[in-house]
């Protein structure tokens, strides 16, 4: 067996990375900060956020398309990543503002006074003036960056360990993951959970220490960071699913019992992928929310995670590029159709307003894809490449006389 370099074995990875680089370069050259200014800053932000969503979709595809765990709670990890980075963004910025205003006092403020003033600023809105325990590390960027991956990772580890070891599978597992994200959202909605209740964290687009840079430039920086994260995440995912590990996880998806009898600790494999995917999703979230500017518990609503599954299904699960295509195409279409700029469709007797009808169209296309094109958009690429499922038109399945016919084998 000859061993070709990893990228040559997987030409699709090169194509995706090349397209991503070309896209990033094009947006940069058309941006207001570094180029002609054809693309407004708000659009650069939308594109940057879309790349983050695509990264979350890649992670979703790892979990669902490759291991077969239909997790409907992935956006909980996404939002947790956002909350963790948001804590530092909000704290550090408030600290700068408060310090500037207190600097005029005749007596300079003690660190404790400063902290209390910051807490008062941040939590006044929920009627509290104390810094909650969970904000203990908010002053440190390093600590919060570690928490971005550590908190969702630990949650996924705990949840996955409990669920997988009791062999919860299929729809029951999906319901459990929905319950997880809903419970987390409800907890965050409470004012006394320490994350400002339904106000969430805001002003995240202002990066402390970079006030002089301006949003136009920042938006391009975040686009670069998001593109880099997507590229690296894609590369990692592609490496993960390529070798024997990929073989085993796809086998778990197709027949988990049989894999157990081969001696593989199925739960361990599921846990590794689930935790890793949660961490990737959290990184995507940590890059998304500074571009969105605000995060609140509504971001963890169960429907958000279902959307993620819909994107992956429409793009084509079990294909990493399918996840990227699905997330990019569907989320951009969604924001166009629901943004009120899509022209109304005038039917005789009824005018279809896309703002109202887009959800219906999306739901319908999900149903149609599931029924008629289970491979989604990426099925088109398979068709172009000539990869087809074995179809033998009812002939014998084997070389010897009397081997089963295709119809018999299916029965």
């Amino acid at each position: 067996m000859t061993r070709k370099p990893f990228l040559l074995q997987n030409p699709s990875v090169l194509v995706v990375l090349g397209l991503l680089a070309a896209f990033t370069l094009a947006v940069t050259l058309l941006s207001q900060a570094y180029g002609t200014g054809l693309i407004p800053t708000s659009t650069v932000k939308i594109l940057g956020k879309t790349l983050c969503l695509a990264l979350a979709a890649v992670a979703m595809d790892l979990v669902w398309g490759y291991v077969g765990i239909l997790s409907l709670g992935q956006m909980a990890f996404f939002a947790l990543g956002g909350y963790m980075i948001g804590q530092w963004l909000m704290y550090a910025r408030t600290e700068t503002i408060v310090a500037a205003s207190l600097a005029n006092n005749p007596i300079p403020p003690t660190p404790l006074e400063l902290q209390q003033a910051v807490a008062n600023q941040i939590f006044g809105v929920v009627g509290s003036a104390d810094l909650p325990l969970v904000w203990g590390l908010a002053h440190s960027l390093t600590a919060q960056l570690i928490l971005v991956v550590a908190v969702p990772g630990l949650l996924a580890l705990l949840f996955g360990w409990l669920a997988f070891r009791s062999r919860v599978n299929g729809v029951y597992l999906s319901i459990l993951t929905q319950a997880m994200t809903l419970a987390l959202a409800l907890w965050l909605f409470q004012n006394d959970s320490g994350f400002r209740g339904n106000n969430g964290l805001s002003g995240l687009q202002n990066i402390p220490g970079l006030d002089a840079v301006g949003q136009a430039t920042l938006s391009v920086w975040f686009l670069w960071a998001s593109a880099a994260a997507l590229g690296l995440g894609y590369l990692l995912a592609a490496w993960l699913v390529s070798g024997k590990f990929g073989s085993v996880i796809r086998a778990i998806r197709d027949d988990e019992t049989r894999v157990r009898f081969l001696g593989y600790p199925v739960e361990g494999f599921k846990l590794v992928v689930f935790v890793l995917a949660a961490m990737i999703t959290a990184i995507a979230g940590a890059l998304y929310y500074p571009q969105a500017g605000i995060i609140n518990p509504a971001e963890l609503a169960p429907i958000a995670s279902i959307y993620l599954a819909v994107w992956v299904a429409i793009g084509g699960r079990g294909r990493l590029y399918g996840a990227v295509i699905g997330a990019v195409v569907v989320s951009l279409l969604s924001s166009w159709f629901t943004g009120g700029r899509a022209p109304d469709l005038a039917l005789p007797g009824y005018v279809v307003k896309w703002v109202d009808w887009w959800q219906v169209a999306l739901g319908l296309s999900f149903v149609l894809v599931t029924l008629f094109a289970p491979k989604g958009i990426s099925g088109l690429f398979d068709w172009l490449a000539g990869i087809l499922p074995p179809r033998r038109h009812g002939r014998d399945l084997g070389p010897d006389l009397g081997a089963l016919q295709e119809q018999e084998a299916k029965a």
């Binding site: 070798g243 197709d254 157990r260 600790p265």
Partner: protein, 246 residues
Amino acid sequence: MRSLLEVDGISVSFDGFRAINNLSFNIGEAELRAVIGPNGAGKTTFMDIVTGKTRPDEGRVLWGEPSKSLLKMNEAQIARAGVGRKFQRPTVFEDQTVAANLTMALKANRNPFAVLGWRPSRGSAVRVAELAAEVGLADQLDRKSGELSHGQKQWLEIGMLLAQEPRLLLVDEPAAGMTLAEREQTTTLLRRLAETRAVVVVEHDMDFVRRLDCKVTVLHQGSVLAEGSLDHVTRNPDVIEVYLGR
């Protein structure tokens, strides 16, 4: 002869139905054994217990030397200890190539992180090719296993079991759905395998069992009714009454 697997007085019931009733069974190293019995005699449940899929209500299952209890281990641990199982329906991973199926089964560290670091080597490629040749699939390595015939899938599964290098092979109805030629090849394969390891074949096809030419254990209502050569057990009046006489 020292026994490799020692099943001692196991019983299990499902919703009051006693599927296995005080069953004892021994098999030594490098022994071929056929287990026969009418439907519902507990053949598959017996395999489920040995491989960890079902827990018995009482009794013990000891393995290897020094003997360890298999009852405290899960399916994957039992498989790693050296018990391989072939299911009645061929279960191979249809979406993957014959080579990938065999590679996955190769004896190696099964820890997720070890698997992540595993890279194909010259040795592994040669081993996969050898295994494929042994089960007659040498020229099918790059085909998706979903495209294989029913009989070829059965062989691929046997090849995967060999790749695991088990010390005991449990084979559930290997001849089901096979053509006559495929059956003969399967018999030869099983007999050859039993030269180096223990093989237990569950089967209801008497002609197939006769061709295996080995010691036979007859199960009935969850316990052993008779044991010995096929001719010996077929002369046993109890066996004739419950099984052969129908």
